[in-house]
């Protein structure tokens, strides 16, 4: 694969153009990692602003109409809606797991069946998050099942 870097004008936005015959799995992975790597999210912790790396986020959850991002130990408040995050992270490791949460697939240690067609995701930080029945098909699709 050839990599060409061109200068752009001052008023132009940095742009990555991919020229390919067809988009295969490897290329998709590359696009995902570029997408994930370039993103920084603004969050709040103890009244101060923090810039978060999405790769460090285990999951997002909504409590009382507020969205929180959960790291390995830390919890941050987000000022965006869950559906906005879902849209932002479309095609990345994140997937909608229930009406109130979004999980980072790379932070799931294992999955076990729960009651009523639901699944429980055990994360690498020891937390357990429920995957609703209606979102299991999305997870299956993401895993290539």
């Amino acid at each position: 694969m050839r990599i060409i870097i061109e200068d752009c004008k001052d008023d132009e936005e940095d742009t990555i153009i991919i020229k390919c015959k067809n988009i295969d799995k490897e290329l998709l992975q590359l696009i995902y990692s570029v997408k994930m790597g370039s993103k920084r999210m603004m969050a709040f912790k103890d009244g101060s602003i923090v810039m978060l790396d999405p790769k460090e986020i285990y999951y997002f959850d909504t409590v009382d109409n507020k969205v929180f991002a959960y790291g390995e130990q830390e919890v941050y408040e987000m000022k965006v809606k869950l559906y906005e995050l879902e849209k932002d992270f479309e095609g990345t490791d994140f997937f909608r797991s229930s009406k109130s949460s979004i999980i980072n697939l790379s932070k799931i240690k294992s999955l076990t069946p729960a009651f009523n067609g639901r699944f429980e995701a055990l994360l690498y930080n020891g937390e357990k998050v429920i995957i609703s029945r209606q979102y299991v098909s999305e997870l299956k699709k993401k895993l290539g099942l």
Binding site: F115, F119, V136, L143
Partner: protein, 141 residues
């Protein structure tokens, strides 16, 4: 195995279709087949009323406790319908406790079998997803 699974998934729909079309055909034939048609219609009514019991499950996320409570309510409802149909359609008498107990037992067996199948399917899917998850994460590293 895939073909057997496919056939098993088709079977309930085909059985229902045959039951309904047979009931219509036997009703139209009349004569000695009339009593057989009546039983088929009774079975269709009974199955329809039992199916209505599923309305109690809301289209929202349920806790473990809520799911168990609703399953118990559904079981009681199905029992009442089956026994009620048995009495109304004169399959047996209200005093016939032996048959009523056997019927309740059979309904319980159906519930247990359905539950076992869903547990088995859930575990199988979890195993498949865990395998794929491990592959996915390995590829990412």
């Amino acid at each position: 195995m895939q073909r057997i699974k496919y056939l098993a998934s088709l079977f309930p729909n085909i059985a229902t279709g045959i039951l309904i079309s047979s009931a219509i055909f036997l009703s139209a034939s009349g004569g000695s087949l009339g009593s057989l048609a009546r039983i088929l219609w009774q079975l269709i009514v009974c199955a329809f009323l039992c199916t209505l019991g599923s309305i109690i499950y809301p289209n929202k996320e349920l806790s473990k406790k809520q799911t168990v409570i609703l399953a118990v309510i559904n079981y009681i409802y199905v029992n009442m319908i089956v026994i009620g149909c048995g009495i109304v359609f004169e399959w047996f008498d209200l005093q016939d406790w032996g048959r009523i107990i056997i019927l309740s037992f059979l309904v319980a067996i159906v519930f247990i079998v359905v539950w076992c199948i869903s547990v088995y399917k859930g575990q199988k899917l979890a195993n498949e997803m865990n395998k794929k998850l491990a592959e996915y994460q390995k590829k990412k590293k």
